[in-house]
């Protein structure tokens, strides 16, 4: 039962992240949203891997790999955001500066 709770939390986090990604123009918030989607998926996977009588170690290894990859992507994305801001003063992508 607890596993279902974690899996549903994971699914909701993915939905929340997708909302943030689509609705928020501020680039740092979009990076946060990406991380919510990623960790939501991992939570789902982790809960699925814990269903058997013994906890499956493969998902845990995949998740650790995924967390490191997500950090690498976040670091480059954050770097791009800061570099764009100092070069042009923008914190959103140009043609999305005006709310629809």
């Amino acid at each position: 039962m607890s596993l279902t709770v974690f899996a549903m939390t994971g699914a909701s986090l993915v939905g929340l992240g997708i909302y943030g990604l689509l609705a928020l123009p501020q680039l740092l918030r979009r990076i946060i949203s990406f991380n919510l989607i990623g960790s939501g998926l991992f939570l789902f996977l982790g809960a699925a891997g814990a269903r058997g009588e013994a906890v499956d170690a493969v998902p845990q290894a995949l998740i650790i790999t995924g967390i490191v990859v997500a950090l690498a992507a976040s670091a480059l994305a954050v770097g791009l955001v800061v570099a764009l801001a100092r070069r042009s003063g923008l914190v959103v992508l140009p043609d999305e500066a005006n709310p629809r």
């Binding site: 990406f34 699925a48 891997g49 995924g66 992507a73 480059l76 764009l84």
Partner: protein, 489 residues
């Protein structure tokens, strides 16, 4: 097998060496790693040609525990094409990315990023493990985004950020599918998955993975990031990004729809994929027609040319896979991937030479350039022949195979798309050709080394040769081609 290991490991080892060694060693190390890897790519293709698919269990562990790698004919063909493109790009970059021209920062970063991108491509081409493919795709995307940002302008940063957002969203959608696959089947291996017992969540997993890969392949309507990104990068980087990077995610789509889960390929889904491809062919062509900068024309042309590859889905996928025309359609789409790679890389390298010669790639500034740089003008014309699909080029073979399959299958609308796309390509490539070959030169031309000019010419010639000598690549592509008609019985 050793050739496969070298093709995978040497670009990565080369990148590590370039980072670790002093700056003056970077170019010699990168060029020798490139040459040795390219040589191994040819050896690998020869051994696939002679002995069938080459398989490697990493660490000696069999799936589902370990990761299986396999070079079949398609992977070997893509590895060789990539090696040719990277080899040419490295030669051009020797001139173009020199510290004196590009600055010490770009001159340092280009070489390891090029090698990492190449290593990631080769890793993706041969991987049979869905999560390993995710890691490979991330390496590919990060290296590609970095190559877009390398030119450092605000415009390039905006393009890189938009690329990053699409690439990350695509990765996460793909990852969502991978998570569902592992949760449902306890394996990530494509071979084991093809023999799995179906689960209700499979269609959702395939849909999520496909959506993510479409975003990465820049298929319409996910194409908006591609033209600014490919046009903002330095020309050798653009050549890598446009010619090679979208082929990796396309190949994973092929692996999923033809090998891992062919039974889920419903007619409606296949028609939708090809329909988006058809729109991309037309819409990309129309947008290429209205651009005034050479690099943007070439970049929008990529949007159009990638669209053709998606015609493979209804012609050779699902129920169509058992039909006699399936082999032609499948091979035609792969020929398109190969010939577009060679021709598109040639075009971007031409654009780089133009910028070096007159300091701009606006069509108005390129007028009469072919008189001063005839080899470069000729290279662009040869590459254009392939993209227009005129005989005897590789692009012609590709479109001819696709068109005959479309007629054989009774799906004639695709033939209209092929014909219309060819006409559009002729139209959007006529403008730069007319500018290059006009008689009145506009701007003073800086001299460009002949060796540099020869690089795109060689690539464009290879794209034409692919059509002239199509028998050998045709046979290579058949090795290990999935034939569900046989397996399904």
């Amino acid at each position: 097998m050793t050739a496969l290991v070298i093709v995978l490991a040497l670009p990565l080892a080369g990148a590590l060496a370039v980072i670790a060694l002093p700056v003056r060693a970077a170019v010699p190390v990168a060029l020798s790693a490139t040459a040795l890897t390219a040589l191994s790519a040819l050896v690998l293709a020869a051994s696939v040609w002679q002995g069938g698919p080459v398989t490697l269990m990493v660490g000696g562990w069999q799936p589902p525990l370990g990761i299986a790698l396999q070079a079949d004919g398609l992977a070997a063909a893509l590895i060789v094409m990539s090696a040719l493109v990277v080899g040419a790009v490295a030669m051009a970059a020797w001139f173009e990315m020199a510290a004196a021209r590009a600055g010490p920062r770009a001159a340092f970063g280009f070489w390891p990023l090029m090698l990492l991108l190449w290593g990631a491509l080769n890793a993706v081409y041969v991987s049979r493990d869905l999560f390993n493919l995710y890691v490979g795709l991330e390496l590919l995307s990060l290296a590609a985004v970095a190559l877009v940002a390398i030119s450092g302008t605000a415009q390039a940063l905006v393009a890189a950020l938009r690329y990053m957002i699409f690439a990350l969203a695509g990765s996460l959608l793909y990852l969502a599918g991978v998570v569902l696959v592992y949760a449902g089947h306890g394996t990530l291996d494509i071979g084991l998955l093809s023999a799995r017992s179906p689960a209700p969540g499979d269609a959702l997993a395939l849909g999520l993975m496909t959506a993510g890969l479409l975003a990465k392949t820049a298929l319409f309507p996910f194409h908006v990031w591609l033209p600014p990104a490919h046009a903002s990068a330095p020309a050798p980087a653009s050549a890598l990004l446009s010619a090679l990077v979208p082929k990796a995610s396309f190949l994973i789509l092929i692996r999923l729809w033809f090998e891992a889960m062919p039974e889920l390929a419903s007619t409606a889904a296949l028609l939708m994929l090809a329909g988006l491809g058809a729109i991309a062919v037309i819409w990309g062509g129309v947008l290429a027609l209205v651009q005034s900068r050479l690099k943007l024309i070439v970049a929008y042309s990529t949007v159009a040319q990638l669209g053709y590859m998606f015609l493979v889905f209804p012609l050779a996928g699902g129920d169509g896979s058992a039909q006699p025309w399936a082999a032609g359609a499948w091979t035609g789409a792969m020929f398109q991937a190969l010939s577009h790679g060679l021709a598109k890389a040639a075009m971007f390298l031409v654009a780089g030479i133009c910028i070096a010669a007159v300091g701009s790639d606006r069509l108005g500034d390129l007028r009469g350039l072919a008189r001063a740089l005839p080899m470069t003008g000729f290279a662009f014309a040869l590459a254009a022949i392939t993209l227009m699909g005129l005989p005897p080029s590789g692009g012609f073979t590709a479109k001819y195979l696709l068109m005959t399959s479309a007629f054989a299958a009774g799906q004639w609308p695709w033939a209209l798309v092929l014909a219309g796309g060819g006409l559009l390509a002729a139209a959007y490539l006529y403008r730069p050709l007319a500018a290059l070959f006009t008689r009145d030169a506009r701007l003073p031309v800086h001299p460009v080394a002949r060796a540099w000019q020869g690089v795109p010419l060689a690539l464009a010639a290879l794209a034409v040769l692919l059509g002239l000598l199509s028998a050998a690549p045709f046979d290579l592509l058949q090795i290990g081609r999935p034939e569900p008609a046989v397996e399904g019985l």
